[in-house]
């Protein structure tokens, strides 16, 4: 049982943090309601009207999605290192720094080529 205790604790902490933030925001933030905010799903922009039978996304969505997927999935390599970084010591650190530099180079490229700008 004790193996799972930390997970349980982590879960309680996370839940508590979420509850705390939402509650706090509810008390302290300004409350201005409009139609968009009251819509069923809301992320700040108007839901695009969808043509019958499903529409097509702008190609921009795909580009952004592609960038997200790549950078998101690269992070998977950090997990094994995180688990064993004490055994891997300096060697592991250097390797991981090299890895992150490689990712950063690509990030720099995307940034310079305005891949991160919406328009």
């Amino acid at each position: 049982m004790n193996v799972y205790t930390p997970i349980l604790v982590l879960g309680i902490l996370a839940f508590g943090f979420a509850l705390f933030s939402v509650t706090l925001a509810g008390f302290t933030g300004p409350k201005r309601y409009n139609r968009a905010k009251l819509a069923a799903y809301e992320c700040g922009i108007e839901p695009t009207p969808q043509p019958v039978g499903g529409g097509r996304f702008a190609i921009k969505y795909y580009l952004t999605a592609m960038l997200f997927i790549v950078f998101d999935i690269e992070i998977v390599f950090l997990y094994p290192w995180a688990v064993a970084f004490d055994q891997l010591a300096l060697f592991g650190l250097i390797e991981m720094v090299l890895f992150i530099i490689a990712v950063l180079v690509v990030y720099a490229y995307v940034w310079r080529r305005r891949g991160l700008e919406w328009d």
Partner: protein, 99 residues
């Protein structure tokens, strides 16, 4: 639960993927079927790792995920480009190169 069942499941997924490649016409769907095949392989790796009692299979699964992501990016780029040119994502439509 017998890990061999996972192998069977992965084989089923792999076959579904392969058949999907053959029968679907939309390039994106075909491409997703290929991804399904890769993930079937991933499942097999993890299940075999469990059966063999070593971690190699799980390491492979990590790498495959990343490679698959890279493949997605390249594939989407190509498909999007074709779509913009031809206003269609059907893989039967580009048919200039033959014989």
């Amino acid at each position: 639960m017998n890990p061999a069942n996972y192998i069977v499941l992965s084989a089923v997924l792999f076959s579904i993927g392969a058949i999907g490649v053959l029968v679907r016409r939309n390039a994106i769907v075909v491409f997703m079927c290929v991804e399904l095949m890769l993930n079937a392989a991933n499942l097999a790796f993890v299940a075999f790792a469990r059966m063999n009692g070593n971690l190699d299979g799980q390491v492979v699964a990590f790498f495959v995920m990343v490679v698959a992501a890279a493949e997605v990016v390249v594939g989407l780029a190509i498909i999007v480009q074709i779509f913009r040119t031809r206003r269609s994502a059907s893989i039967d439509e580009p048919n200039l190169l033959k014989y």
